[in-house]
Amino acid sequence: MSTYFTKDHEWLKVEGDVATVGITDFAQNQLGDVVYVELPENGKSVSQDDEVAVVESVKAASEVYAPVDGEIVEGNELLVDEPAKVNEEAEGAAWFFKIKLGNASQLEGLMSEADYKAFVETL
């Protein structure tokens, strides 16, 4: 299992041909108290950089983009009832959706954890 990051502050954990996607701890910290999460429909085909989910805090609303092409296979229903989980466990239990990879080669264009940390330092 390997983990990747994007410039849009998303993380992916890849197991086989399915990636679990969420937002980073840095992102949840910037957003403040998360109050609402809108998840994509199961079975939806998406392309890299499509807007697929929405995360809202009291003061901001942000789109979550598809980090790779693929098909949405599951949304994390836990977040619908408990959006606060995003603040508590952004990089764990508060994942947003699972996506079946459509083009695994896109993973090569993403960042490693070390790269992402360096990227965040520059912000």
């Binding site: 108290d33 109050v35 609402y36 809202e56 009291v58 959006p83 606060a84």
Partner: protein, 529 residues
């Protein structure tokens, strides 16, 4: 003499410690807790007397409801007390300085209220025969004349209901004008410093928004505009620019910017939210605008009413005038002709549609015209000058202690500070603003515009006396010095003295409770039932 030793003591007595107990009612003298009407109302009595019809033989088909609407009532004295108590929990211009930048909280003359309530204005119907309301159209026409004269334009669409609605009207006229030329354009340029309504309106009308960065001095450069125009050649429909801008600065290159957008075949939409700074000092039409909405509730003093109603007439350049929406008044010499439907159109008139039923915000028109007539040309100019003078007076009173993001230059009607003076104090812009509440002031506009960090935008308006400004400046200086002296306790968790402490907005948004619901009846244990 006879000695009267009876009666109450009249000395105040020794000052004691702050009150040692909670009150039974939760009230604090004049500061009273008030339940919701649903908690104190009743179903068996009400505040309006009305005789039942003698015979009730309905002709409602099968559409009658089976139960009355679930809404309790209050008698008249209860109603009066309920809302008077609620009102006392509100800050208001009539009670104190309201320095909300870009919102223009100026005095609302009561003459305007009196005029709007004349039966000849308040008790007329928008669809009664036109022949029975000549004075209504005369008033609309006269207000339109004032707006056109003050802005240097020849057309105005009166009907938009508020500023954002006016923006929508102006942008729809632009879209229609472009279509009439047989063109399609997809992009609207909006500076980063713009009001949020600008990009929202552009998107609503179907445009893609491209953002223009601000210069270091807070203004927009013609070069940045040209760069975006060239990057999207032939696609730019319009530029939306606020002038004076949201940093309180007049855009020095506005004429060149107007020319650039016109040369590219686009239109110049000006957000007129800050027109109050330049009324009588310059005409937007002379700057090259094609459309500009005027917030009658800002510049022309119609009351804000706790969030509306507003009114947003849009002046239009000759290029856009043919596309003004229905309804409008056509002037034939002194005669006014009301045009409500497309069959009444004459050569060249191509309205894009209709913004609202009827004729717009008549009640606001009366108030605005009452304000204009009262001021006259000389008073309007003086009001702009005083607004700018007051803002600069606040600026020089605070600039040594607070920080001006763009240097110590004159501002227009509002002055923008950033939060760098609070650096290392542990006090945020929000804390600072909330501490102003304890001092009896409404906070200034915060975190807007977005182009500076921790923005604090102060607009005192022309309605403040010098004494009022002096006290405000002294209060702000005292607060700044407290923050810099590390007295965080004055700020953290402020306000302490308002009817409510800080409210939990996170909880409100996570589990929205948007209406009152009767609590579950208390369960009684079976053996007691």
């Amino acid at each position: 003499m006879t000695m009267n030793t009876q009666g109450r003591p009249t000395r105040s007595g020794e000052a004691s410690e702050p009150m040692p107990h909670q009150t039974f009612t939760g009230n604090r003298a004049l500061d009273m807790e008030e339940p919701l009407i649903f908690e104190i109302g009743h179903m068996d009595n009400c505040g309006v007397d009305l005789d039942e019809p003698e015979n009730f033989t309905p002709r409602l088909g099968n559409h009658m409801r089976s139960e009355v609407v679930d809404l309790p009532a209050l008698s008249e004295p209860e109603t009066m007390r309920h809302y008077v108590r609620l009102s006392r929990n509100n800050y208001a211009i009539d009670a104190g300085l309201y320095p909300l930048g870009s919102c223009t909280m100026k005095h609302n003359p009561r003459l305007n209220e009196k005029m709007a309530r004349l039966p000849g204005f308040a008790d007329i119907h928008p669809l009664q025969p036109i022949s029975t309301v000549p004075g209504a159209f005369e008033l609309i026409s006269e207000l339109a004349d004032w707006l056109m004269e003050l802005t240097g334009t020849n057309a105005v669409a009166m009907s938009p209901k508020a500023g954002a609605h006016g923006e929508q009207c102006g942008m729809m006229a632009i879209k229609h004008a472009i279509a009439a030329k047989g063109e399609e354009r997809s992009i609207v340029l909006v500076p980063e410093s713009a009001h949020g309504t600008n990009p929202a309106t552009a998107a609503l009308v179907g445009y893609k928004v491209v953002s223009i960065p601000a210069r270091e001095d807070g203004t927009v450069s013609v070069d940045a505009v040209i760069e975006k125009i060239e990057a999207h050649e032939g696609q730019v429909a319009a530029l939306m620019l606020t002038n004076p801008n949201t940093c309180g600065l007049f855009e020095p290159e506005v004429i060149e910017i107007a020319k650039a957008i016109h040369d590219a075949g686009g239109y110049f939409y000006c957000d007129g939210a800050n027109f109050n700074a330049i009324v009588g000092k310059a005409k937007p039409g002379d700057l090259g605008i094609d459309a500009m909405h005027i917030n009658l509730h800002k510049t022309f003093s119609t009351p804000h009413g706790g969030g509306g109603p507003g009114s947003g007439p849009v002046v239009l350049s000759d290029r856009l005038a043919p596309y003004a929406p229905l309804p409008f008044i056509r002037k034939n010499g002194e005669e006014l002709e009301v045009v409500e439907t497309t069959d009444q159109l004459k050569g060249g008139e191509q309205p894009f549609g209709r913004m609202t039923a009827f004729f717009g915000q008549m009640g606001m028109y009366v108030r605005a015209l009452s304000y204009m007539l009262s001021h006259g040309s000389d008073g309007l100019k003086q009001a702009s000058e005083d607004a700018v003078l007051n803002a600069n007076y606040v600026r020089v009173g605070l600039q040594d202690l607070m920080t001006l993001p763009f240097g110590e230059n004159p501002c227009m009607h509002e002055v923008l500070f950033d939060d760098s003076f609070l650096k290392d104090t542990g006090v945020s812009t929000l804390d600072f603003a909330k501490a102003m509440i304890d001092e009896g002031y409404h906070p200034m506009t915060m975190y807007f515009p977005l182009v500076v960090s921790g923005a604090m935008l102060i607009e005192p308006t022309e309605s403040e006396s010098r004494a009022s400004l002096d006290l405000f400046v002294a209060t702000m200086r005292d607060l700044v010095m407290s923050a810099k002296a590390g007295k965080k306790e004055r700020f953290e968790g402020a306000p302490f003295l308002a009817p409510r402490r800080r409210l939990d907005e996170t909880a409100a948004a996570r589990k929205p409770v948007l209406k009152w619901v009767a609590p579950e009846p208390t369960k009684v244990a079976p053996e007691l039932a």
